[in-house]
């Protein structure tokens, strides 16, 4: 379908559903049904089976019409949807994708555990079969939006007697089920972006299993790959960057300038520009259908630059760098790097090298998958999960 055909299709849809008079949720549902939600999804599942690079045109043509609030559905869109598409049954796809995309049902991710961070495959949350149901017990952590979510993507251990990667099964967790308890987790910034989720005797119907029993690690790879693509791709999108903002402060406040700070700012500015160009080149590669290994590196670059720049900014501001905007304990839905103060940026940026894969794990990945360096001796291979040291 070429651009003209897409334009015609959108025009026809808008003719039938006037955004000014249609109920916003009805409008979104209709957009999904018309295949104009994510056009690269298959027909019947909100898409038209088009290449991914057709999506921007559709979004542009529908700008100003009711919106599905990308922030709220980010995890559903970026992680749950591709996994359901790849591994879900027909029923699961029909049941979950539409309300996921319209935002009627929010999703969260139940992967990390206190004892299983970088080594996610060592996870200890148990799911035990009981007839047509599974009974889940365990604790998850770093779950954003858990308190707002209808569903969660969950990995749990169904067989402790085989090596760790082989005894995991992937589920869709009903966040309204009895035994699901969500507690906000306060961070060093003072607020709680994330939650701990305690699962106690939670019963999930076998319909909510995604993929085969014991195949959960492979299913989770789809989720994690999409998470990294989402983080990498969403990087230096806006025109305003952290270093750009610091440069504005520098321009406006000559009294803050010293030669030490000046030399460091010039270095930061170069690094920021190199990162921007790296991202731009990566996007060109993606558009040309050659996704280079550079993607694995963007998150590393981003974390390093953010941390250096925000540390620099606190020092630059001196007196003001000693202040903080707000320590009150409250939930927050996201990261407002540019809207808050320097102290917040400094503290929050520390998370950039931990969340979504630590920088240490990402360096391992680059070294092994991109450079082809040999892996370290593995002591947990072929050992049943239950015999591993923890």
């Amino acid at each position: 379908m070429d651009a003209t055909a897409v334009r015609e299709r959108v025009a026809a849809f808008l003719a039938e559903h006037d955004p000014a008079t249609t109920d916003p949720m009805e409008f979104l549902r209709a957009r999904f049904d018309a295949g104009l939600a994510w056009v690269f999804f298959p027909p019947g599942l909100g898409g038209l089976g088009l290449p991914r690079d057709r999506q921007p045109l559709v979004d542009q043509l529908l700008r100003g019409t009711p919106d599905n609030d990308p922030g709220r559905i980010a995890i559903g869109l970026g992680m749950a949807a591709p996994t359901i598409l790849a591994y879900g049954t027909e029923e699961q796809k029909q049941r979950f994708l539409r309300p996921l995309w319209t935002g009627e049902e929010v999703w969260c991710q139940l992967f990390s555990e206190p004892g299983a961070g970088s080594d996610l495959a060592s996870l200890a949350t148990r799911a035990v079969r009981d007839g047509d149901e599974w009974i889940v017990d365990g604790q998850k952590v770093w779950t954003s939006g858990a308190h707002l979510s209808r569903w969660g993507i969950l990995v749990a251990r169904t067989d402790p007697d085989v090596p760790k990667h082989r005894g995991i099964t992937y589920f869709i967790c009903d966040m309204h089920a009895p035994g699901v308890e969500v507690r906000p987790l306060r961070q060093i910034t003072g607020e709680a972006e994330f939650n701990e989720v305690f699962l106690t005797g939670v019963r999930l119907s076998d319909d909510l299993r995604l993929g085969q029993i014991g195949d959960g690690w492979r299913v989770a790879q789809t989720t994690l790959m999409n998470e990294r693509v989402a983080i990498g791709g969403g990087m230096p999108g806006g025109r305003r960057t952290m270093v750009g903002m610091i440069a504005d402060t520098w321009r406006e406040r000559p009294e803050l300038r010293t030669h030490d700070l000046h030399q460091r700012l010039l270095r930061l500015w170069v690094n920021s520009e190199v990162m921007r160009l790296t991202g731009a080149r990566l996007r060109e590669q993606l558009a040309a259908g050659h996704p280079g290994p550079e993607g694995s590196g963007m998150k590393l670059l981003f974390a390093k630059l953010h941390q250096e720049a925000s540390g620099f900014e606190v020092e630059l501001l001196r007196d003001e760098g000693l202040l903080y905007d707000d320590w009150s304990f409250r939930r927050s839905d996201g990261v407002d790097f540019l809207g808050r103060e320097a102290g917040y940026r400094y503290l929050r940026a520390k998370g950039n090298s931990i969340e979504g894969g630590t920088s240490e794990i990402l360096r391992n990945i680059v070294a092994e998958r991109v450079l082809g360096l040999p892996s370290e001796p593995r002591v947990d291979k072929d050992v049943p999960w239950k015999d591993l040291p923890r």
Partner: protein, 355 residues
């Protein structure tokens, strides 16, 4: 001169460490009892005050050891602000005029604060924006450390120091939401407050700030040591991939490098304290600048590694790592940034800037 710790210093450290272990833990507020115990029972409040005024007549070397321990616990006590900075400023004034106050400080009856922005660089102290007319003072000073718990404020004025009672009706001290929650800064507003002006030696403000900066390095050393120790301890226990995380070579090498930075910091701190104990000289100035140029960044580096290598748990409010990160970052700015101290070496070490 020695860069080692003396036996007396080791004993003082043990006493302070025991007391801190007994009475507080990182992040705990001080209901007054902690500072009282430190100030009076161990006598740290009067450490730098001459014996004839009721103090211990000790030197910067002993004060440095106390600061190492206070850094290790990020204890919320006004030792640096009252017993080091304010005391040093008073010691530059005529003893006849400030002897009473020093005697009260020595026994912990009174607590003072030098009313300057905590970020003041010793190399270019900002003139406080205050007006003095006869014995009445007005003005505002932002981001003052230790003012919230002081009953006496020492405001630098042209003639020397204005001694102002914190409970004077013309004084308002407003604590500000601070990055470092264990050492809050405050805005000091003076609206026609009564002031007693005492003369000080010329350059006393700069010297007091430099003296404080030189000792702050020891607090930074203590912070860095705690961060390294707690990280090593955690990585020995924490298991991932069926191995202690501390057995991963990349982390081992980073911690080895951090340890080396800290070894250097210890030498630089001992040198600064020793030089300051021997009086105010060109080599003391160099020692202070070197210690601050090195230690400020070491503490921040140690705290940042501590948060990172604790993984997710280090990002939580519940774990104490963040208290050290915030203290380390605030300390980096306090009393001159590392860059300010390096810049000072352009003159002090004859490494001139480009024309």
């Amino acid at each position: 001169m020695s860069l080692l710790y003396s036996e007396i210093e080791d004993q003082l450290r043990a006493a302070v460490r025991d007391l801190l272990a007994d009475k507080t833990s990182p992040g705990a507020a001080d209901d007054g009892g902690l500072w009282k115990a430190l100030a009076r029972d161990i006598g740290v409040a009067g450490l730098l005050i001459p014996e004839e005024l009721g103090g211990a007549g000790a030197s910067a070397r002993e004060a440095a050891v106390v600061l190492e321990e206070l850094g290790r616990t990020v204890a919320p006590v006004p030792f640096l602000t009252s017993a080091v900075l304010a005391t040093r400023a008073l010691l530059a004034a005529d003893a006849a005029e400030v002897g009473d106050l020093l005697e009260r400080l020595a026994v912990g009856e009174s607590t003072a604060a030098l009313a300057v922005p905590f970020a003041s660089s010793p190399y270019r102290p900002a003139g406080a924006d205050v007006r003095v007319k006869e014995s009445v003072i007005s003005g505002r000073i932002a981001a003052v450390a230790g003012a919230d718990v002081a009953d006496v404020l020492l405001v630098p004025v042209e003639a020397g120091l204005a001694v102002v009672a914190a409970d004077d009706p013309g004084v308002t001290v407003t604590p500000v939401t601070s990055l470092d929650t264990t050492r809050v800064v405050a805005t000091v507003d003076l609206a026609s407050a009564d002031a007693r002006i005492v003369a000080t030696e010329p350059g006393a403000l700069r010297d007091s700030l430099a003296f404080g900066a030189g000792l702050l390095a020891s607090e930074q050393l203590g912070i860095a040591e705690w961060c390294l120790d707690s990280t090593v301890g955690y990585l020995r226990e924490r298991t991932q991939f069926a191995r202690p995380v501390g057995s991963f070579q990349a982390l081992k090498h980073r911690l080895a490098d951090l340890w080396l930075e800290i070894v250097g910091a210890r030498a630089a701190c001992r040198n600064a304290a020793d030089q300051l104990a021997s009086g105010w000289s060109q080599s003391a100035r160099v020692a202070v600048a070197v210690a601050q140029a090195h230690c400020g960044a070491v503490a921040v580096h140690a705290a940042e590694e501590c948060v990172q290598l604790h993984g997710g748990i280090g990002m939580t409010w519940e774990h104490p790592a963040h208290l050290y990160l915030k203290r380390a970052k605030a300390d980096e700015i306090a009393l001159g940034t590392p860059g300010d101290h390096r810049d000072a070496l352009a003159d002090l070490a004859d490494l001139p800037a480009p024309a």
